[in-house]
Structures are given as C-alpha cells and as structure tokens.
Amino acid sequence: MPIKLPSFRPRKDAYPADLWTKCPSCSEMLFNKQLDKSDRVCPTCGHHFRLSAEARIALLVDDRSFVEVDAGLQSVDALGFVDQKPYPDRLAAAQLATGMRDAAVRGTATIDGHRVSLCVMDFAFMGGSMGAVVGEKVTRAAEQALMERLPLIIVSASGGARMQEGTLALMQLAKTCAALERLRAAGVPYISIMSDPTTGGVFASYAVLGDINIAEPNALIGFAGARVAAGTIAQELPPGFQRSEFLFEHGFVDRVVARRSLRGEIADLLRYLVPGEQRPAADNGRSLFDPIGFLTSLADRVVPDLPAPEEAPARPTEPADDVPAARAADREATRG
C-alpha cells in the first residue's frame, strides 16, 4: 500500500481567507503579512491595494509624529434616513468593523521634518463616503493649515458624497471648496493625493483642487461611476478609463507616484512649496544620534554631585491642539 505523502503544493481552496490575499491584477496569492510589509503593494505586479487610514499615516509621515485632533466627531442622522437599514445602524456597524468614528482621520504630523496639516480618508468606512464629519474634518484641516500656515495634505479614498445625508452631504462640496479657496488666496500649499478610489463628490471638490495633484498608480479616479457613464450614454468606454494614468494623460494629475516613493516625493515638493523654509534638522521621530550631546548628558548623570538636568518634555507641546479645542468651545456641538 503506497504511503500518502503530504502534499506541499498549496491548493487554491486551502488558503485561509485571513492569511492570503489574491492579487486582483496578477492573480498571485499573497501572504498577508508579506503584503503588509510591502505597504500593501503586490510584489509581483505592483498592484496597489487599498490602505487603512492608520497604515496610510504610518507610511506617509515621520515616525510617531502624527497627532490626531477632532477624533470625537460623529455623524448625526439629520434626515432620518432608512434604506434597507436605518442610517444610524449602518454607522454603528461601520464603526464596529473599522474602529473609526467616520471615514476620515485628521491631525498634524511632520513629513521629513516639515510640519503639515493632514487629513486621511479610509475607504473601509462606508466606502469612504463624505458626510458631515468628513467634510468638517477636511474643512478644519484646511482652516488649521490657513491659521498656522502649514502645508495641507489630503489623502482621498472615497466613493463620493454620502447618500444617507442627502443634500447636506452635497453641501460639503461647497464647504470644503470654500475653505480651500481661502488657503489658495493666502498662498498656503495644498497637495492632494488620490488613492483608489477617488470618485464622485470627493473628486469633484477638494481632491481635484490640489496645487499639486498626485495619484497612486492605476487608482480609479472619476466623476461618474463607470457603470453610470456606460448606462447613461450607451457608449463603449475606452480602456483604462478613469484610471490614474488616464487622468495624467488628460492633464488633471501632476504625477503618478508609486506608494514607496510617495513620502519622498511629498517631502521634495514641500521644499519648493514652503516659502523660505530650510530643510530642518531631523529633531523628531528618527533623531540622529548626537554623540557629543549624549556624552554630555551621560556625564551629567554619572557625576552624582551635579543636580540632574531638567528632564526635557518627551514631546514639544502641540500648539495645534489648543486651537481646535478653543474653537470647539464656541462652536455649537451639534448642528442640524
């Protein structure tokens, strides 16, 4: 009787869903841990998977420099919207699934030493749809950028305006564009990064209005959904329609940048867009090892007679934190 040897050839159906991901572009089976290590870019074909806001921030900014603000914003069901589920239930389900309160995270961070106002969207939360909270966070990010003259960076990942908030979601287009116009008039730079997907009302407002528009490779970027377009006009759609490269070809994207180069490219651009700013010494995150300073402080410590030097605060206090807090006080907490 032949001995049945265990097969080492992996069978397709043997991949546990949470361990492996199939690349939709080249059909390669990718080990999730490996995928996370490569910033969720397929090592075989370079397909860019979607990123969570958290992973995006980690990828984009200096190590541990991100400080979130306005984390407590939460949408209210102003319309009493019920489709197959009431809107509050959908919100609660999305919050449970993602651990986020809405589809955007905003705060300040440094990129290669440049302090920036940052807002990052997450497609996993109700398709990254823009309702009151996303609109508010984008607007506040722009207003803080204006007040402190920080470059504004917004990473979009959204299907568009949130239907469950009706025209109030549509009004977010005007709200965000108004804030960006003020930024523009004040000469504060804004870099828009479009990831997969950036469509509808988000594309037709702040995402397209960057002083510099950057897109990730092969991201779906467009105004109307491809099916809407095909359905409405009964016309063959050109290949590569509404992809980053299509927009690049037609002049609406400055650069199509692979994920691993994104942070470097932004840092390079900021050196031109931030007036008169020298490249600051790396003083946060991955600080350079300073041997003389270290020896001095070492000497201070090992000589017992000397009083111990004042312990520097672990992180400089963020002036940014005070501003929104003060503003929040005179702002009505809830609006209808």
Binding site: R64, V67, D70, L170, A178, A185, V208, I233, A328
Partner: protein, 333 residues
C-alpha cells in the same frame, strides 16, 4: 439599541406611508415635466432684455448651459442656468440639459465678468446631473465643477440661486452656491438621482420613489434642512401650466433678494456666504482619546535609562513617559 448607545432619539416611523411616497414621486415627475419652463423661458418672461454670451474660450460652446446678461426690473444681472430642450430635437442639441466641462467653464467666465463689472449673478438650476460620459471625464468635469463651486464661494458680488427643476448633485451645486437659494415649489434637490440611489442602496431602480422620499428631495424638505431659504409656490397644477405666472412670482422674489443683497457690504456678504456653507452638516463632537503615538525612544534614550542613577536608587525609571499624552478632557458635547 443603537440609538440609545449613540444618545439619539429613535427616528419616527420606520416605513413611510405609501401616499407620502406617491406624493414625492409626483413632485419628481413635475420637476422633470417636459413642458416645465426652462432658464431662457423664465428669463424671456421676467427680463426686459437678454443678451446671451457663448463659449468657454478653451474648447467650445455648451448649449446645455445658458449664460449672459439680462435686465430684470431695473437690475442689470449676469444670468447662468442649465437649459433643457422643449422637444426632442432641441434636447439632443442641448444634451438634455446636462452640461459638459465647457458649460461650467463658460459659467465661470460669466461669473468672472459679473465680478469685474459689478453685476449681481442670478443662477437657474435645472439639471439631471453633469454629463457623465468619457468626453466629460477627459476634459475634466470634476475639475470644472470644483473650480466653479470654489469661484462662487469667493465671488465678490451678490449671488441669487434658483432651483427651478431638477437639482441633480454636483452638476447642480456647481452653479448653486448662492448667498440665497430659492426653489420653486415642485423643484427637487438631491445628492444623487433617486434612480441611482435606489440602484445602490436598494439594489433595484424600482425603489426610486422610496429613495426620493428617504433623501427628502422636495423643495419643502430642503427648506426644512436649511439648504433652501425660500420656496416659491407654483400656479395651478405646476409651473408647466403657466410659464408667465411662474416667472412673475419668481421675479418678485429675485428682485427683492437682489435689493436686499446689494445693500450688504461685499466683505460682509462674503463672510456670510462662507458661514452659510461652513455650517452645513449634522455631527456631534465628543471627547475621544486621540490616536497619539507613544514617544519614540531611541537607543540613546534606553542607554540613558540604564545609566540613570536614580533608577538604581529608587528602582524606577524617571525618564519613562506615559504611553499616551493625557488628553485634555473636553466636556462631553
């Protein structure tokens, strides 16, 4: 349960009564009525003179967007509005009132003229949506809409916007960022077409009427939400039954608003416009611990820790910092 968790009152009535749905759908049909007065029809009735301007100076002229100068009751204004056709031939020529990017760029030209020559702007919104085809995308429909919205938020002249028929999403708001927004009684305004909404959320376009009701797209509902400031009643069965009377009623309201807005200093007008749109959106603000990274502790810090004499004396590290910054606890909103 969810309501209680989130501290909200439950929404009233889980299922809308059928007659409310029928009533709403009737309004959508009225807003789309083929004989409904269009931008140029209304202007022909209410203005003493109309001079249309054409072309976006970049690509071409879009017949789906009408722009120009008009004199309404002594006010010289710049008008902008989508123009649907009265019959099939005209509708084909005017692309069923769905502008391409060049239409919105022509509108921006008109706005720019208004600002430079001190004329107020009156916009008429009647659009199923901006044209969604490939040529629209190639020429940057999203960019044209975003720029137009942005321009309107900072245009240094009064803007009166009137939703006359269909207020279809981005294609509508691109010319509807007014200091005051007026709507005809049977006009509708929504973030997506009811058919599109139903197809996505109900997975069936048969539920369009349900979607229309859920999105509260009628003029009255929009007034209740604050999106529309004033609703103008239509004569008889609706605006399509009596163009002249509809225009007369609209003209009274538009002229009154122009009189009012022209007296406001421009800086105040712009500040008020910014605030009007800044305030949209319903949200609560609660105290939540922000995502703050733990302080970065490099090798030097750790060596310092080991060598810290106080550590040997007391057995505790003095350089250890809390993992999270203590969030200043703002009051629960």
């Amino acid at each position: 349960m969810v309501d209680r968790l989130l501290g909200r009152r439950p929404v009233a009535g889980p299922v809308a009564p059928e007659d409310a749905k029928a009533e709403m759908w009737n309004r959508v049909q009225l807003a789309r009525n083929l004989r409904r007065p269009r931008t140029l029809d209304l202007l022909a009735e209410m203005a003493d003179e109309i001079i249309e301007i054409h072309g976006d100076r970049a690509f071409g002229d879009d017949a789906a967007m009408a722009c120009g100068f008009a004199r309404i009751d002594g006010h010289r204004v710049v008008f902008i509005g989508q123009q649907k056709g009265a019959d099939t031939d005209e509708n084909v020529r005017r692309n069923f009132g769905m502008p391409h990017p060049e239409g919105y760029r022509k509108a921006m030209r008109a706005m720019d003229l208004a600002e430079r020559f001190g004329l107020p702007v009156v916009t008429f919104v009647d659009v199923p949506g901006a044209h969604p085809g490939p040529e629209s995308e190639e020429r940057g429909i999203a960019e044209a809409i975003a720029r137009s919205i942005g321009l309107m938020t900072r245009l240094r002249t009064p803007i009166v916007s009137v939703i006359t028929g269909e207020g279809g999403s981005g294609g509508a708001i691109a010319i509807a960022v007014g200091d005051v927004v007026i709507a005809l009684e049977n006009a509708v305004y929504a973030v997506i077409s009811p058919e599109g909404c139903a197809a996505i959320l109900w997975r069936s376009s048969d539920e369009a009427a349900t979607a229309a009701l859920a999105m509260r797209m009628s003029a009255d509902d929009q007034q209740a939400l604050g999106v529309v400031d004033q609703v103008v009643a239509e004569p008889g069965e609706g605006a399509h039954a009596d163009h002249a009377e509809t225009a007369r009623r609209l003209r009274t309201v538009i002229v009154a608003e122009l009189d009012r807005l022209e007296r406001i200093p421009t800086d105040e007008l712009l500040a008020a416009r910014y605030e009007r749109y800044r305030a949209f959106g319903a949200y609560t603000e609660t105290a939540a611990p922000p995502m703050t990274p733990p302080p970065n502790r490099g090798l030097a810090d750790r060596v310092r820790d080991l060598l810290d004499p106080t550590r040997w004396l007391t057995g505790t590290s003095t350089t250890g910092t809390p993992r999270r910054d203590d969030p200043t606890a703002p009051e629960e909103a």
